[in-house]
């Protein structure tokens, strides 16, 4: 399974969380598939930001509005509370200033939806414990010295992180995404151990 299949899996959950007609800002929107889906299927007003020229061009072809933005420089221009939902999907771990990015999300949006890989997953723990090496797997296929993922977190750490930055978690959906290709399954027990991905709905505290 590729990373983009993983994305598709957790994005399906994001679309379920967003009510019809919402104003949505998608941070790291890629080629705009989530935005297009929210616009076409749920009548949402959507805006996106991304860095990649290829992705911005693809999104333009879908009639989407995407502003090339380095998230670490904040969400300048957007007025406070100008969106109902701000989505940050599989991107928290690549920014240099995750706390600043979260505060910006909570400034411009009523709610944020954050999806992230759970570094507390048993495979990751096992890899480090048994091999004594930084985990490399299908979902984290990078060596430690050459990786875009510079801020890994666990589900438990993420809870503290949200609270420490003026937010509150309204809903948390731990997921197993990797067992069968494309299949997603919520996890009810020991989420920080058994879920490889989490989707969190956050708001200002």
């Amino acid at each position: 399974m590729t990373l983009s299949d993983l994305l598709r899996a957790d994005l399906r959950l994001v679309t379920e969380m967003v009510p019809e007609g919402s104003r949505v800002l998608d941070l790291g929107c890629g080629d705009g598939s989530l935005m297009a889906h929210l616009r076409d299927e749920k009548g949402c007003t959507v805006r996106g930001v991304d860095l990649s020229p290829e992705d911005i061009a693809s999104a333009l072809g879908r009639g989407l509005s995407v502003v090339q933005t380095d998230l670490d420089e904040g969400l300048t221009g957007y007025a406070d509370r100008s969106f109902d939902y701000v989505v940050l999907s599989q991107t928290l771990q690549v920014v240099r200033r995750p706390a600043f990015v979260l505060r910006e999300m909570l400034r411009v949006g009523e709610r944020g939806i954050v999806t992230f890989p759970n570094f507390g997953h048993w495979r990751v723990r096992g890899y480090l414990a048994l091999r004594g090496r930084m985990p490399v797997s299908r979902s984290i296929p990078f060596t430690w010295y050459d990786t875009p993922n510079i801020h890994h977190t666990t589900i438990t750490d993420f809870r503290d992180f949200v609270v420490a930055n003026g937010g509150a978690i309204e809903r948390e959906v731990p997921l197993v995404t990797r067992e069968w290709a494309g299949a997603v399954r919520p996890v009810s027990v020991w989420p920080n151990l058994l879920a490889d991905t989490a989707v969190a709905l956050v708001r200002r505290a």
Binding site: P53, I56, L60, G63, S65, V67, G77
Partner: protein
Amino acid sequence: MEAEHRAGGSPAAPTIAPPASGPQVFELAGGLDLASGRRLEHVTIAYETFGELDQRRANAILVCHALSGDAHVAAGPDRFGEQRPGWWDPMVGPGKAIDTEKYFVICSNVLGGCSGTTGPGSADPATNAPYGLRFPLVTVEDMVDAQAALLDHLGIERLACVAGGSMGGMQALAWARRYPERVASVAGIATTWRLAAQAIAFNEVGRTAILGDPTFSGGDYYDEGQPSHGLAVARMIGHITYLSDDSMREKFGRRLRERAGHAFEFVTEFEVESYLAYQGRKFVERFDANTYLYMTKAMDYFDLSAGHETLAAALAGVRSRLLVLSFSSDWLFPTYQARELVDALKAAGAEVSFAEIESPYGHDAFLLEPEQQRRYLEPFLARVVAEECKRGGGER
């Protein structure tokens, strides 16, 4: 051989280039009220069109030219009937980013220009002599009003897009604010919502060179020949601002022209000197010094936020989808200004997209980087025109 194919209408015939209108002229009968409060009774607008307007009139794209441009944006016959490439040839034409096989492209010489549209070199109907400096100052908004009158004449109610670079981008932005219902989209490239002090300063140096030329004669030089030296100096300064340190270093370095060592005389020695001298000379042959004064003044005056406390407030009525592109090495229309514009559009809730294109070519990049612009412009335009067709734009 090719002519035979065409005449026979054979399906194997080579693709026939979409029609280019060649130079056209529109007489604006009703005159034009200007931002200055003055009025021009007689206005002629020179324009050209490329490609064909579709039945729904949903595929019209207006391209606005920059300081020294004209109506001849793409390849086609010039006023002498000769095929000549356009000033934005890499971007506009069959199969190009602004595809004249799909879109109906209109480009007109701006008000105040010197390539067919009424400007300071035109005859003042009151005296039958050229206006010179008696020509009223025109603004970017005045230019746009003249273009709107031209579109009325062409029967185009609504444009799929207004696109332009530099001063052309200013016009495109002015369209979005001034005629929000008439423009589905705007592409503003290497442009700004208002010049900062640095750009105004360069314009003023250019104007000072022209005004100080002894042959300027208060702008009434049309019988004696124009102030070539002043205009050439203005153009040389302009060209420096269109390049970048990197591109000049790469293009010229410290290379000497046709000599091994220094001449120890005040002659053209360095390649860069020769380039600037050539650009100055070439410009004087085709451009009017008074128009240069009027164009730079119009750019200096342009302020998209005019009349409002903030730019975002001024843009509250914008209904067009916008694409803003800047170039990393453009220090005349820098990325930070494009971002100010984009931030204000975001705050106004507008549908705006933005990208900064990596390029070493400075401000000139909008003329020299067709592929990088095409990457964004092509899908943007395709989608807008498809939506306009569904919308039944013009619905005739």
